[in-house]
Amino acid sequence: MGNPMKIRASAKDGVTEIKILMSHEMETGQRKDANGTVIPAWFINEITAKLDGKTVMQAQWGPSISKNPYLAFKVKGGKAGDKVSVTWVDNRGDTRTDEAAVT
């Protein structure tokens, strides 16, 4: 259970722009700590966005995505008041879902 995401979504001329800011360490597995021990990889590897219950975007991510990732995309359809729901799953099996309304 990670920290909350920040989700903003706005509909204009039949297109909804969804912006998501996620809170995640996104460790690559390449770094070492002060003692020289490898810091194990820990990153989001699956992300799903739904608009009004319908999956509109799905992605598989790897360790090359930055810490605290920011994702923005546009989808056809959607109107003010629609519910946006975003879920991520990381390689430790941890998951988090947050919701926001389209403005």
């Binding site: 920290n3 912006k19 810490k67 605290n68 920011y70």
Partner: protein, 271 residues
């Protein structure tokens, strides 16, 4: 003969003028590229995540007295957060000290929550106690976003702090024979692609003071002003200042007063 020489000089001047213009255009193009990159970064500033954490810390009861920080007086009265950061540092009656945001937060944590400030002062900037301070600073500074910076040293202690800050800014020393002014005392300079703000001027001071605390993309870290200043000391190879010591508050006062009238853009985002 004389005519020919003057024609030659004129031609040379004309050629150098063209070269100078071309150089300026090239520089402008690079500058535009950097600005476009910075603008792209503004969208979805991860500092928002720290603001949310800070707000929670502000409102959640903690410490031996099981109190929140909601009654903390940041200079505009107990509990007023909106616009407070744009008016700091300032002199506080109760402590009879000039305080910046982070030293004031420590005062509130001690007085309201009964916490011992020592672990917060001594912890490394990446350690959990400092993470709390930085999140709180992110939250409070975010509540002054868009406000005009309004710091005018009036109280004798504020004026003394400003003068001390000015002296420190120009004080040259250490193994590199450096001062703050070595990097920030001339207009229009930069290190690699980073513009170096001219701190004695209003615009430059605001570019510095008005954009910290900030999220540093390359490091994936949120930095408070105290951390930023600490790093300036480190870069000059000066002894590192104690967290929230008068040395750091004096420099903050010098920057804030110089930046007065410009807009607060906190929390910022950096490369």
């Amino acid at each position: 003969m004389v005519d020919r020489v003057s024609v030659g000089v004129a031609a040379f001047l004309a050629v150098s003028a063209v070269a100078a213009t071309a150089y300026a255009q090239q520089k402008d193009a690079a500058q535009e590229g950097i600005e476009a990159y910075r603008e792209a970064l503004q969208d979805g500033n991860p500092a928002e995540l720290y603001e949310a954490t800070g707000e929670e810390l502000w409102k959640t009861p903690a410490g031996p007295k099981k109190a929140s920080l909601e009654q903390c007086d940041l200079g505009l009265g107990p509990g007023v957060v909106k616009g407070a950061y744009a008016r700091l540092p300032r002199h506080f009656q109760d402590t009879d000290r000039v305080q910046d945001l982070e030293s004031r937060l420590l005062t509130c944590m001690e007085a309201l929550q009964g916490k011992d400030p020592k672990p917060y002062v001594e912890a490394a900037f990446t350690a959990p106690p400092k993470e709390e301070m930085i999140a709180l600073a992110a939250y409070v500074s975010g509540q002054s976003k868009g406000d005009p910076i309004a710091v005018t040293p009036k109280h004798p202690k504020e004026q003394a702090m400003y003068d001390l800050g000015k002296r420190m800014f120009y004080y040259q020393g250490g193994p590199y024979d450096f001062s703050c002014a070595t990097c920030h005392g001339q207009e229009g300079t930069r290190i690699r692609l980073q513009d170096l703000p001219y701190i004695p001027g209003t615009k430059g001071a605001a570019a510095g003071w008005g954009s910290w605390p900030a999220y540093r993309v390359s490091a994936g870290q949120m930095w408070s002003m105290q951390w930023r200043l600490n790093d300036c000391f480190r870069q000059q190879r000066f002894p590192e200042p104690v967290y929230t010591s008068d040395a750091t508050i004096a420099l903050s006062m010098f920057m804030a007063a110089n930046a007065s009238g410009e807009t607060m853009k906190t929390p910022g985002i950096k490369r």
